[in-house]
């Protein structure tokens, strides 16, 4: 662990030198280069690689590797010292756990998501809305409540006064979707964007905005990053560029601001 840190120290010393060299009188930010690892929420599985492609095109010489999992798992990995450069979670509380533990920098909110009900193709249990989920014999999959998708599902059901006894509490939202696609459950509570990404393989019921709940996605550079320049560049790219935001819109994510 001490080795990467000394590399970081050495490279930041080098950056300082470069910034003060006469050739670069104006301290312009150094162009990002090298490899970074991005730990991202499972619901970003489809959209983040597309954003990464655009980023790598804009900054030749950069490579982005991904680690997709449930947000809480990602946060625990970062706290345990996983060699990760950027963290993007599906809720603010999960991100604050990492920030408060001193492992992530200032988070920027970059996207917003809402919930939907996903059913196997043909909707065999004839799910028409949240109320259908409490019917006897309807098998429902949710995320475990420690996960953003689980917390959102719980909030959604409470908000609408619906009592559901799920048959399984999956450990990331993609696992919920997998159980739906396999036809093993009649319905799963997932993000709108998940339904969109696998649309022909699932049917869905949209939930009106007034009844729905939202979750916002923060992104932050990890404090122990070996490549803080590229890490912060990616964070800024996701939050501020029309290119990244356009890709997020295309995948069904809303603006959080």
């Amino acid at each position: 662990m001490s080795k990467p840190r000394s590399v970081v120290a050495a490279s930041s010393a080098l950056l300082a030198l470069l910034a003060w060299s006469p050739a670069q009188a104006a301290p312009t930010p150094t162009a990002p280069s090298g490899t970074i690892t991005v730990s991202a929420a499972a619901s970003l599985t489809d959209v983040f690689p597309v954003i990464a492609q655009a980023f790598m095109k804009k900054y030749p010489g950069t490579t982005i590797k991904f680690n997709f999992a449930g947000s809480s798992t990602l946060v625990q990995q970062v706290i345990a010292g996983a060699p990760v450069d950027v963290l993007a979670t599906a809720s603010e509380p999960t991100m604050w756990t990492a920030v408060n533990a001193g492992h992530a920098g200032k988070p920027l909110l970059f996207a917003k998501n809402t919930m939907a009900i996903a059913m196997p193709p043909g909707n065999p249990a004839r799910i028409t809305g949240l109320a259908s989920l409490s019917r006897d014999g309807v098998l429902v999959a949710e995320c475990a409540v420690a996960l953003p998708c689980g917390a959102a599902a719980r909030d959604l059901l409470v908000k609408n006064g619906v009592t559901v006894k799920p048959v399984t509490l999956e450990l990331d939202v993609r696992a919920v979707l997998a159980k739906v696609m396999a036809g093993e459950v009649d319905a799963g509570i997932v993000y709108v964007t998940d339904v969109r990404s696998v649309r022909p393989m699932v049917s869905s019921v949209t939930i009106a905005a007034a009844q729905n709940v939202t979750t916002t996605y923060p992104i932050a550079a990890v404090n122990d990053s070996d490549n803080p320049t590229a890490a912060q560049a990616f964070v800024n790219y996701v939050r501020f560029t029309p290119s990244a935001q356009g890709i997020l819109r295309a995948y069904g994510f809303a603006k959080p601001w």
């Binding site: 625990q76 450990l171 396999a182 093993e184």
Partner: protein
Amino acid sequence: MSSTRTTRAPWFLLVPGLLALAFLIAPLLALLWRAPWGSVLDIMRSPVALDALRLSMITATAATILATVLGVPLAWLIAKSQLPGTGIVRALVLVPLLIPPVVSGVALLAAFGRRGALGGFLYDTFGVQLPFTTAGVVLAEAFVAMPFLVIAVEGGFRSLNSQFEEAADTLGASRWTIFRRITLPLIAPALGAGMVLCWARALGEFGATITFAGNFPGVTQTMPLAVYEALESDPSVAIALSLLLILICVIVLVMLRGRFLRPLAAT
């Protein structure tokens, strides 16, 4: 005797050997080091832990019984019957042991899921669904753990001296009596070892269980699943639950010390 020469380990075996030992022990020691000792008992007595522990004990035991009832006859067929193709059968039995458990889970869904080849029939005809049930957990554990039992018991059958069975046969004992009174007692050590291995593997099953049976406290959430879910929210709870699992394994090892594990080396 040159025993002093052979017992002194040469450095090229001693060093990597000790390294291997350290590699196997260090993570467990680290777990002890990180354990939240102040609250370990409270966590172990929490409803989540007790539910998961009870479920793990029940399902691992049921899976071992299922594997024994079906696996012992299969081991006999492979070891003793002169049926053609036993070599292939033996290789097939090893497949669930070698493939990743999550693949086993996907395969079980394909077979016994609500839309599976057999599961579809069960569901449409009897309304029986195995995923998300405790029976589904037992099925997943038995699928993954049975090969351990079959291999151990097959070794027992193979090394069996058939003189006793032949003697009983000439004295007019029926085949069932011979199997029950002669064969089974003779393979008891191998059977015991196989059952312990099978039970331990079933107790630790994660991938096939979560893929096939899902995760719900009290119904399908066994100890390994509870450990994984606890990692999402509170790693210290996960460590405490892990210690409980390790403790169970140590207790089993101590209880069986020398009794079943030695014959295993012989098979």
